[in-house]
Amino acid sequence: MRVFGLAALLSLSLGAAAASETTVRVGYLSVERPAPPVLSNLDPDPEDLGLAGARLGLADNATTGKFLGQSWTLMETAVPEGGDALAAARAALAGTPFLVIDAPAETLTAIADLPEAKGALLFNTSAPDAALRDDACRANLLHAIPSDAMRADALAQFLVQRRWSDVALISGGHDSDRAFAGALKASVEKFRLKLVGEKDWIFDADMRRNASAEVPLFTQEFGDHDVLLIADEIGDFGRYVVYNTWLPRPVAGSEELVPQAWAPVVEQWGAAQLQSRFEDLAHRDMTSEDYATWAALRTLGEAVTRTGSDEAGVLRDYILSDAFELAGFKGRPLSFRPWNGQLRQPIPIVTDRAVVATAPLEGFFHQGNELDTLGRDAPESACRAFEEN
């Protein structure tokens, strides 16, 4: 049973909040980094990746806020490549304790460790690194984007359900590829699948011309398997593997059948409405990064509305409590793991054209919340920063 008493109690104080006008300021900080080159020119990253989701979340909060005497503003800061991210974070923290941050893991922890960030509430909306939810966790840093482990576990549950138990893996050479490959291998073990073979992607030729000649031989060496997993998080080579494998096998991971926080094909549970609101605002499809920034803003909105407070400490306590729940258009209430600050969420497993399944899948049980079958669970967590807080 969830605790409803607290929510009821907190909503009582709402009258007071409604009477006084409050302005909630939220900082959005994006740290630009060079995008690695990829073979295909087909899908450039949108300029406002993540930012558009934050703007939509803010607009959603503002619509609710107008009935409660709250107004919401977003202070947007972009740090150019090679710029001083910490200085930008300090400047933003001078104006608000609430920061939504698109930055790599090491920048996130450096910001979280700033003296100015003590008592602040920071949201990671793009870094999937395992360590951030584990021994590198920070008490003032919550994670709206799923970890690599959550996505990999989601896919592994699907493979178990389909009884595709023998898997082969091709991994790219970028850090993000290796991290996701590591997560996939951990999930293969966790869900007792079998890794029959593993190869690094070694080709430096232009696969747009060569794939049909090279990929069959490259994958022939795996021998028999049920499904081919690909760790290609920057979208470089995976697309050229599909339909060129030696054995006719489904492809999953970073390509073809992909576990995602969000995708344009998600339409159930009212998601179509979020998609259309996003499209009206950004004139493009909503991505996982946009979903994470939207969820971060809505988390703040929900917490301010329910507590009637805009103090970071009060909001943090509420967000990490059993009373908090966010309607995130994924069919179940979203909440935060109190041991590491990760947003619990279902993971849609999608192709370009449809949602194939949504994890957690039926039959994967958990003594607490089924969403905790995805990613690092409390007993395995090395995160201690949340214990004393």
């Binding site: 049973m1 709402l14 009935f67 259309s276 929900e302």
Partner: protein, 321 residues
């Protein structure tokens, strides 16, 4: 709106032996008409795109249908099944409620965060009222003085004064409110919250929260207990509450607010309608594409009727109505 239908059908009760249940099929753009004597689909009527909310005029000479993706409320002749005309509805109408004056239709425009008030006679928009994000649930008090819009993402019930057509109160509810009804002659407002997993009971006079109904089914995770549509028996003593993906209808004592029983129905149960004498209840089951018939006195599902894809709304039409 269904409650209103219920009251009216009570007034005319002696004449009502048979009748029909009209069900909107969201993904088929049709209405399935179920004969309540044979419990079979006797007609399938084409509608605009993505039909959801459905309600009859007081004399049953017209049926109003929210054709969400056609951005219209369609007015149909229930005898011929012909569309008579469209009403200006604002974009993406999802649910609506017909005022006791039988003339004003209050429509939730889901994509626009607006409630549109339309005069069904002049076919003109009287007012558009700013509400929260994704308005959906609509209710009107029996005296016609208050209309409620619930907004799914703002998590509020907005209380609209029908004289000024303006909001006079906003009350928070749990996450994703989907359906609202005035019950017990308007003394209480009930609002279901799909993600919150609760039904909140408000005292109409003070707009204060009076009670909250919780659900628990052994073997079904708490997160799957998602209350959506509901109906109360005419004596106001028993409520039937659809629990969405939990595939059950909860039977609730409307005085103690305690759940008495859970009835297994089809998959993702949405909305429901009583027949004319309230002896049977018809639930729309979105995912399984069927309607479950519940014997109200025995509290047992007695039949499943296949309808179109994603049945959503339901409304009763008396014989010859």
């Amino acid at each position: 709106m269904l409650r209103l239908t219920a009251i009216l059908t009570l007034l005319a009760a002696p004449a009502l032996a048979g009748g029909e249940i009209w069900v909107t099929n969201e993904k088929d753009d049709t209405i399935s008409v179920i004969d309540i004597d044979s419990l079979e689909v006797t007609r399938t009527i084409p509608t605009g795109e993505r039909p959801r909310g459905i309600t009859f005029s007081h004399d049953y000479s017209r049926v109003y249908i929210c054709a969400s993706d056609s951005d219209a409320v369609q007015v149909m002749d229930p005898v011929s099944g012909e569309i008579l005309h469209d009403l200006p509805s604002g974009e993406d109408p999802e649910q609506f409620v017909l005022h006791p004056d039988d003339r004003r239709l209050y429509i939730a425009n889901e994509d626009d965060a607006i409630t549109t008030v339309v005069d069904t006679e002049t076919r003109r928009v009287i007012e558009q009222i700013d509400v929260g994000i994704e308005p959906e649930g609509m209710a009107v008090s029996p005296d016609g003085k208050i209309v409620i819009t619930t907004s799914e993402t703002t998590n509020m019930a907005h209380w609209i004064d029908t004289e000024s057509e303006a909001i006079f109160a906003n009350t928070l509810v749990d996450s994703r409110p989907r359906h609202a009804e005035f019950v017990k002659d308007g003394a209480e407002l009930w609002v279901s919250a799909e993600i919150g997993g609760t039904v909140t009971v408000f005292d109409t006079a003070t707009q204060a929260e009076k009670a909250k109904i919780h659900f628990e089914i052994k073997g079904v995770h708490q997160d799957r207990l998602q209350p959506v549509g509901f109906e109360l028996t005419p004596d106001g003593k028993t409520a039937f509450i659809a629990l969405g993906p939990a595939n059950h209808v909860a039977v609730v004592d409307a005085e103690t607010y305690e759940v008495e029983e859970y009835l297994l129905v089809g998959r993702r149960v949405w909305h429901m309608a009583f027949d004319g004498d309230h002896s049977r209840l018809f639930t729309t089951n979105g995912v399984s594409g069927d309607v479950t018939v519940i014997d109200v006195a025995a509290r047992k599902p007695v039949k499943t009727i296949k309808v179109g894809r994603f049945p959503w709304g339901a409304a009763f039409r008396p014989e010859g109505g």
